[in-house]
């Protein structure tokens, strides 16, 4: 071996190679012998054992589906639960004439056209050997009637099953979401997560909302029953049983009563609302209106109901609180004021004289204030109280868009808040870079002017604005908003409480914050833009109105709500927190086409504060909201300053 380099000895090499080859053959024979031994062990020695398992009494491994976990509000009020009931199910592969079978069944139990349509849709989506429900929630009488005739219907069975129900129906639909039948893409997902084994026998999986994002907590662990079955597949004897473990109970941070009050307070308006406890990020109320009936989706929605929901101009399936993106409007002003103070562009006492419009140097274009003729002398405090647009036009130009971007992004604008729901949109906080990337255009000074009052490219979601308000209320300390307060392990007293710790702290001067907060309190007092809503509040009620435009108003034209069709009217914003000195709740309310924030949005926040802080339940029906809207038109803060096209 050592001197092989010098001389290639072919003979010797072949000898060595053949030696190795013989060893390989030995290796192959050894492993073949091992296999053979195994076969003999399985097929001769243990044959009778496996034959018992397979031939005479086949062992069937039957999954036992666990009960899905409950969802409760923070006080234990049930938001999602299960109840047992009977369903009539058909295995399509065992039925020869489906139409005839269903017709015959309809004589025994009530099967409506809706049920047939739903069943047809299920048929298309499922495999032939799956048992599919034609009717749910059968009455005892129907069960008895079918049971007597069941011999006529091979492949049709009555099954006892647990049904999911959402008692708060549409009020919590966008928050709780719903479960639905497992489809192919769900299976794909489960296979990717290596959890598909745990879903053997399960028919349902969380599709949206909490039901989706906490699926792994709610589902539970599937049990196994090893059962001997005879040749006909009927169970003979249970060999072993591993009981299922029910899903965990979720205790939400939500206050169901607060949610209900907020829902009622919206009256007939569409919109969204999020309320957060600023001291820990707990979401107290979460509304997107209109909602939908989540119970419809559980067993596959019928076509008519689906079309109705999907084609409604009110888009009830859109989660406005989480995914709806609207301009900030004047709610940006408290944050802008802080930015002005932070960068030293404004002192608290610096005042401007407001002629009712703003012009850029060298331009004749008028950026109008919402109030014709202006507000006179305006300092920072007053600029928030009366929502002076002119003040913020000038401030924005002096700050520059990139400073605005840097400062406001700290409050979470332009990025998802990270709440424990899927599908959150990120909103938009514009910057020079952003415009270059998306429009291949440079940033114009005019862009900055309108950005100063939240009517530029900026977009936010109600969720995001509520979060920013909570961070402001909590003096710049941000807690990640979350919906689950504790997870109760089923069958034990164990609970897991997700850790709550500050996520970030914004470097803010306490004096600056105090100034802005005091101005926001004055907003709800006489002279402020939300004075009506604040009247008689027994606590320091801080707020800010805002308006998000739906259509642009031409230069020189006047916004007149009565002349616009309802869906083109402005959206109303209101952000609020209370008590101002030690905030316990922060709210962002959006009322679509509501016009002015102080008139329609602020009273909703007020009712919630009254309940949450004082325990006051509103006595009257919320129709009063509509009645008020004509009265306070004088306080309109419609920041109607969109540039016209020839600017």
């Amino acid at each position: 071996m050592k001197h092989r380099v010098e001389l290639k000895n072919s003979q010797r090499e072949i000898y060595y190679f053949r030696l190795r080859l013989v060893l390989s053959i030995g290796f192959v024979l050894l492993l073949l012998f091992l296999l053979l031994t195994r076969f003999v062990y399985l097929q001769v020695i243990k044959h009778s054992h496996y034959q018992t398992l397979a031939e005479n009494n086949r062992i069937s491994v039957v999954p036992i589906v666990p009960n899905r976990g409950l969802i409760l509000d923070r006080n234990g009020v049930i938001l999602a639960h299960n109840y047992s009931g009977y369903t009539l199910e058909i295995v399509p592969s065992k039925v020869t004439d489906m139409e005839a079978t269903i017709d015959q069944l309809a004589q025994l139990v009530d099967i409506q056209i809706k049920d047939r349509k739903r069943f047809k849709k299920l048929l298309l989506e499922s495999h032939n050997f799956e048992s599919l429900p034609i009717r749910n929630r059968l009455s005892d009488e129907e069960v008895a009637r079918f049971a007597a005739q069941s011999y006529r219907f091979p492949g049709v069975e009555i099954k006892a099953r647990l049904f999911r129900e959402y008692p708060y129906n549409e009020q919590t639909s966008h928050l709780i979401g719903y479960i639905g039948r497992i489809n192919d893409s769900d299976i794909q997902q489960l296979e990717d997560d290596e959890t598909v084994g745990n879903y053997r026998g399960s028919d349902y999986i969380g599709k949206t909302g909490i039901e989706q994002s906490y699926e792994s907590e709610l589902h539970g662990t599937t049990g196994i029953e090893q059962m001997e079955v005879d040749a006909g597949g009927r169970g003979v004897r249970v060999i072993s049983r591993t009981p299922p473990v029910s899903g965990n109970t979720l205790v939400l941070t939500l206050d169901a009563k607060l949610q209900e009050i907020a829902w009622q307070a919206f009256g007939n308006y569409r919109g969204a609302l999020v309320a957060i406890d600023p001291t820990n990020g707990e979401v107290l109320a979460f509304i997107s209106k209109p909602g939908y009936d989540p119970n419809l989706f559980i067993d596959g929605i019928d076509e008519d109901s689906w079309n109705e929901l999907n084609n409604s101009p009110d888009v009830p399936l859109n989660n406005r609180a989480l995914r709806g993106q609207y301009p900030l409007g004047s709610t940006i002003k408290p944050f802008m004021a802080l930015a002005g103070l932070y960068y030293g562009k404004r002192s608290p006492s610096y005042a401007i004289s407001d002629p009712g419009y703003f012009t850029l140097p060298g331009s004749s274009h008028h950026y109008r204030d919402w109030k014709k003729g202006g507000h006179g002398m305006v300092d920072m405090f007053k600029s928030i109280v009366v929502s002076c647009d002119t003040y913020y036009y000038g401030l924005a130009v002096e700050l520059g868009i990139d400073n605005m971007y840097n400062f406001l992004s700290q409050f979470g604008f332009g990025k998802p808040t990270g709440i424990d729901l899927e599908g959150e949109t990120s909103g938009l906080m514009p910057s020079q870079d952003w415009k270059m990337k998306h429009y291949k255009q440079k940033w114009y000074a005019g862009d900055t002017v309108s950005a100063g009052i939240g009517q530029g490219y900026d977009l936010t979601t109600p969720m995001q604005l509520a979060f920013a308000t909570a961070v402001l209320a909590n003096d710049g300390v941000g807690y990640r908003p979350h919906l689950v307060r504790q997870v109760q392990r089923s069958g034990s007293k164990d609970t897991t409480i997700p850790e709550v710790k500050p996520e970030f702290t914004i470097n803010l001067n306490p004096e600056h914050v105090a100034l802005v907060k005091s101005a926001m309190v004055a907003v709800t007092q006489p002279g402020g833009t939300a004075a009506m809503a604040g009247a008689g509040a027994a606590y320091a009620f801080a707020g800010k109105t805002g308006t998000a435009q739906v259509v642009g108003i031409k230069q020189g034209a006047k916004y007149d709500a009565s002349q616009l069709s309802e869906r083109n009217r402005d959206h109303a914003w209101f952000i609020a927190f209370a008590p101002a000195d030690k905030p316990k709740i922060a709210i962002a309310v959006l009322v679509e086409n509501g016009g002015h924030g102080g008139t329609v949005a602020a009273p909703i926040a007020r009712k919630m504060m009254d309940y949450y802080l004082l325990g006051k339940v509103p006595a009257t029906a919320p129709s009063s909201i509509k009645a008020q809207s004509g009265v306070a038109a004088a306080q309109t803060s419609a920041a109607s300053a969109v540039e016209d096209e020839h600017d």
Binding site: K8, L35, L36, L42, Q43, N198
Partner: protein, 369 residues
């Protein structure tokens, strides 16, 4: 000179580079495969015909390769290997994720699985490398050859595709072994492997750990991965000595057996044909492997010896790992039963390998006569 009639000439040309003995052995296995597939699919002619199409395509590949003279074959080693590595790196960077693993590369018109190509490319490359350095083999050469093996294996194991990684490791190791890697180093490698086992364990994906744990106690996850093993063992065991008879396997036809047309097709066979059938099947495999060894022993060059030996031993490894996995002595790693399991890609790769064996055998004899 009188021209011979066309057909006999064509016939001669067609079979010139095919080895009749090997063809017979392969044919028996392929027919057995179709027969079992018919039962495994509950008599689905569509699937059987699809597999016939797979086989025909693979046979054409085999014929083409068998007709390539060896020096051309050798020349392809480096380009194929480099091409395969580029694709593997492409998969690692831009591959498509399916079932939690990144194995497929979308090249616009189709998605391909480069790890399959490496089953041929790696031993080819290593054998070529040894041939090139045959006159001056030193320890360094073995080291470099090992690197040629480990790089693709590491990439494939990362995807993760444990089954293919194991098979390629085996094929590369056979080349090293046949090339005369010293016993001392192999001993050292074994010790090193044993010592690094805990480290490797921590590198494995959860599902791979899961599968290995499952081997030790399949009942742990009786609804998930353990289900495969349990049902496979019941099928094999209940088959007994003579089997339940063709189309009469209860495990198969009552839907108890998972993946019964692919990785677990041996359970179908074993249930219906019993121990006797297993012996016959093993006999057919031994037939193929035996012929492979004979071709290896008679191969004329260093390269062809290494290549033929590696192809033969890898084929055996395929069969052993699959049958071991179904009968519960090896973890479920996702290796099909060669020439029997349903699937076009592995069929093509396998017959390509046999094409090389035939090329090695027939071109050699041409030179000698």
């Amino acid at each position: 000179m009188i021209k011979q009639p066309l057909w006999p000439r064509l016939k001669r040309r067609l079979i010139l580079h095919l080895d009749p003995i090997l063809m017979l052995a392969l044919g028996l296995l392929l027919i057995t495969g179709l027969v079992v597939l018919f039962s495994a699919t509950d008599g689905n002619w569509g699937r059987v015909m699809a597999q016939v199409a797979n086989i025909l395509v693979a046979l054409v590949c085999m014929w083409l390769v068998a007709n390539i003279p060896l020096h051309y074959l050798m020349r392809t080693a480096l380009p194929i290997y480099v091409f395969g590595m580029v694709l593997l790196i492409g998969v690692a960077l831009f591959g498509e994720v399916s079932h939690g693993a990144r194995r497929w590369l979308n090249i616009g018109v189709a998605t391909i699985q480069p790890s399959e190509l490496m089953k041929i490319a790696v031993p080819l490359m290593m054998a070529w490398y040894f041939e090139k350095n045959e006159a001056t083999l030193t320890l360094k050469n073995y080291f470099i050859a090992a690197l040629l093996l480990l790089l693709p294996v590491a990439l494939i194991a990362r995807q993760p595709d444990l089954g293919t990684a194991v098979l390629i490791s085996a094929s590369g190791f056979y080349v090293l072994f046949l090339a005369g890697l010293s016993w001392r180093i192999m001993g050292g490698m074994f010790v090193a492997a044993a010592a690094s086992a805990p480290f490797l364990w921590s590198m494995l994906h959860d599902y791979q750990k899961h599968r290995i744990m499952m081997l030790l106690d399949p009942s742990q996850d009786a609804l998930g991965k353990g289900y495969h093993t349990i049902q496979g063992m019941i099928a094999v065991g209940s088959g007994g000595v003579l089997g339940k008879g063709y189309l009469n396997g209860t495990q198969t036809h009552l839907d108890f057996l998972p993946e019964r047309t692919t990785d677990f097709i041996f359970a179908v066979y074993s249930e219906e044909f019993g121990l006797l059938g297993n012996l016959i099947l093993l006999g057919m495999f031994v037939f193929v492997i035996g012929r492979g060894f004979i071709i290896t022993a008679n191969a004329s060059t260093y390269f062809t010896r290494l290549m033929a030996g590696s192809i033969t031993l890898t084929f055996f490894t395929y069969a052993f790992v699959n049958m071991g996995m179904v009968s519960g002595i090896l973890p479920v790693v996702g290796v099909p039963l060669p020439l029997i399991s349903y699937g076009g890609t592995s069929m093509a790769t396998l017959l390509l390998g046999f094409g090389m064996l035939m090329s090695i055998h027939t071109h050699k004899t041409l030179v000698q006569t």
